[in-house]
């Protein structure tokens, strides 16, 4: 028996009771936060000024900042243009594994581009990179981990997307899954600065081309608005001593906080700026703005759409992005999610069989070149035999 169900069963009741208590606690907090949000919305300028002061005074800050739009703004989806280009990229990877006979890393990026209004099938591409041998190891000599590979994957997605749309004309929107900024995980500042700078450069080029690059976050759990409200609730003199790790108002996501404002599918929230100030983040940053988008009929289901700050300065581009992302999410109407993002994922994903095949290709090359072949670890062999793969 893989799981001791009897043991788990004994804990179910207590687990459920604790969940119920936590839910009640969060419901109370949610009401308080809704009230605080309403109050903060009365003077958007003052709320913005408070966040800006915190930006200046605090060494690190992660929260939302209101833009010129009133915080309680709710806008219906505008009609989408007849002709536009939408491109999406998604990445997957084979991370190096010391238990395998050969250590290697592959980053795969799936790309898809549709010319809406053309009636033609989208163009697809897959970019596969075998990471250079010297990049497989950390400065300490160990194999790089999932975080580094994730960062490189995100960077590869953005680079590939830029090349994929560089000759496009007319309105162009690109989509990636997740926030605009690249995956950082627990990486040290030194390791993530260069990739972040390159992503910033890619986004700058896209901005020069007039390409609207957006990140789509499904079922967002972030609490950027809650964090912003924590700042507005502080007494004036306490701002400098604010520690965002010790905030008492935690556990209510932005999506949960805003959900009650939405009455129809397709509506978006006000635009906010994402403030992500860290001690290490001293270089140019992406300056993401975002809105929440209700993609479902009936009970609201919010996704977060992130885009560069320059887009929010042009309302017609915000409308274009709003219309395009909403229409895109409705193609898969029963479980709304941007169709092209799903397709990019489908193109990018590396199956177990493909991983084995790539490894075999490398082993054959090594053998041909007279290199000594490494061996698979006994632990890995045992797992594969048990899993029926050997």
């Amino acid at each position: 028996m893989p799981v001791n169900y009897f043991q788990l069963h004994q804990n179910l009741e207590a687990y459920s009771q604790k969940t119920s208590m936590k839910a009640a606690e969060l419901n109370t907090l949610e009401e308080a936060l809704k009230k605080a949000f309403g109050e903060a919305a009365l003077d958007t300028g003052a709320t913005r000024a408070r966040v800006e002061r915190a930006e200046r005074e605090l060494p690190t800050l992660y929260c939302a900042k209101p833009t010129a739009e009133p915080m309680l703004t709710i806008r219906d989806a505008p009609p989408k243009p007849e002709r536009y280009t939408l491109a999406a990229a998604d990445g997957s990877q084979i991370a190096p594994n010391r238990h395998r006979p050969v250590q290697f890393c592959v980053i795969n990026v799936g790309l898809i581009k549709a010319h809406h209004g053309s009636g033609l099938e989208p163009t697809t591409d897959i970019q596969s990179e075998l990471m250079d041998q010297e990049r497989l190891f950390t400065v300490e000599g160990g194999l790089i981990g999932e975080d580094t590979v994730g960062l490189q994957r995100d960077l590869a997605e953005r680079r590939a997307l830029l090349r994929f749309v560089e000759n496009e004309t007319g309105p162009v929107v690109t989509l990636t899954d997740g926030p605009l900024d690249v995956y950082q995980g627990t990486l040290a500042a030194a390791e993530r600065q260069a990739p972040q700078a390159e992503v910033y450069e890619v986004y700058q080029k896209m901005a020069e081309m007039g390409v609207i690059n957006a990140g789509y976050i499904d079922k967002p759990g972030s609490e950027m608005l809650t964090r912003m409200l924590a700042l507005t609730q502080l007494p004036e003199g306490d701002l400098a001593g604010y520690d965002q790790l010790k905030r008492s108002m935690a556990g209510i996501s932005d999506a949960r906080l805003l959900k009650h404002l939405f009455t129809r599918t397709g509506q978006r929230s006000a635009i906010f700026e994402a403030i992500t100030k860290t001690e290490a983040n001293r270089g140019p940053s992406v300056q993401a703005h975002f809105f929440y988008l209700n993609v479902e009929q009936g009970e609201p289901y919010l996704a977060r759409v992130e885009f560069p700050g320059w887009v929010s300065e042009r309302p017609e581009l915000v409308d274009l992005l709003h219309a395009v992302v909403y229409a895109e999410s409705q193609v898969l109407e029963t479980h709304p999610y941007p169709y092209l993002l799903h397709r990019a994922h489908e193109l990018a994903v590396i199956t177990f069989e493909e991983r084995v095949y790539v490894e075999d290709m490398l082993l054959r090359q090594f053998d041909q070149d007279g290199l000594g072949l490494g061996r698979i670890s006994n632990k890995e062999v045992t797992k594969e035999i048990a899993g029926g793969r050997l």
């Binding site: 099938e121 898969l332 109407e333 029963t334 479980h335 169709y339």
Partner: protein, 203 residues
């Protein structure tokens, strides 16, 4: 006998046994094959297996099923699913004979085609040559089919073969084929009535 004409590839073999085989093709290649069409697979060594298309199956997957329930699907995404995604159309073929060393036979081949062998559509000359050979011996393979609409297959096949024969100046082939079917089905009145009823559509 000339069975070498212009070759139109319509798919590649997925699986086969001696009496049936299934080929896969992309939607773009689906314009030429039709129910009842005669097709063949070249097995090499002067051996070609002939078959009639008995069914064409359009496969689905989770994404297609999800899209079906959508209110409005952009035409670009319909095209994406048809032309870009890896969902082969399945062409089911009933083996009806083979050609070996230039001689046509209306019985089952010594071995089935292999996976990834190419399936070709027969042209009119090949259709005339195959169907004119012998005395309609390949009909027994069709009439033996259990879970397929035999009448519909006969109507499609005989319609195509009749047109090819008549274009070649042979107006006697179709009446002879009908006469042979009546003979073969003389002990199965229900099926005979059903076949004749279907063939009436060709008149």
């Amino acid at each position: 006998m000339n069975l070498e004409g212009q070759k139109i590839a319509i798919g590649k073999l997925l699986r086969a046994d001696n009496s049936h085989f299934v080929a896969g093709c992309r939607v773009r290649e689906l314009e030429t094959p039709a129910l009842g069409s005669l097709c063949k697979v070249d097995l090499g060594e002067n051996l070609e297996v002939y078959g009639l298309i008995t069914n064409i199956i359009i496969n689905d997957d989770g994404l297609v099923r999800q899209m079906v329930s959508g209110v409005s699907i952009p035409s670009e995404y319909t095209a994406d699913n048809r032309y870009n995604r890896n969902l082969p159309v399945e062409i089911h073929v009933l083996t009806v004979g083979y050609q070996s060393e230039g001689a046509i036979h209306h019985y089952l081949p010594p071995r089935p085609p292999l996976s990834l062998d190419v399936l070709y559509l027969c042209d009119d000359a090949q259709l005339v040559d195959f169907t004119a050979h012998g005395r309609f011996g390949y009909f027994r393979h069709i009439l033996r089919m259990m879970d397929s609409p035999v009448e519909e297959l006969l109507v499609c096949h005989l319609g195509q073969a009749r047109a090819a024969h008549e274009a070649a100046g042979d107006t006697a082939w179709y009446p002879a084929a009908c006469k042979e079917l009546i003979t073969l089905l003389r002990d199965d009145y229900v099926k005979l009535a059903s076949v004749l009823n279907a063939l009436a559509e060709l008149e």
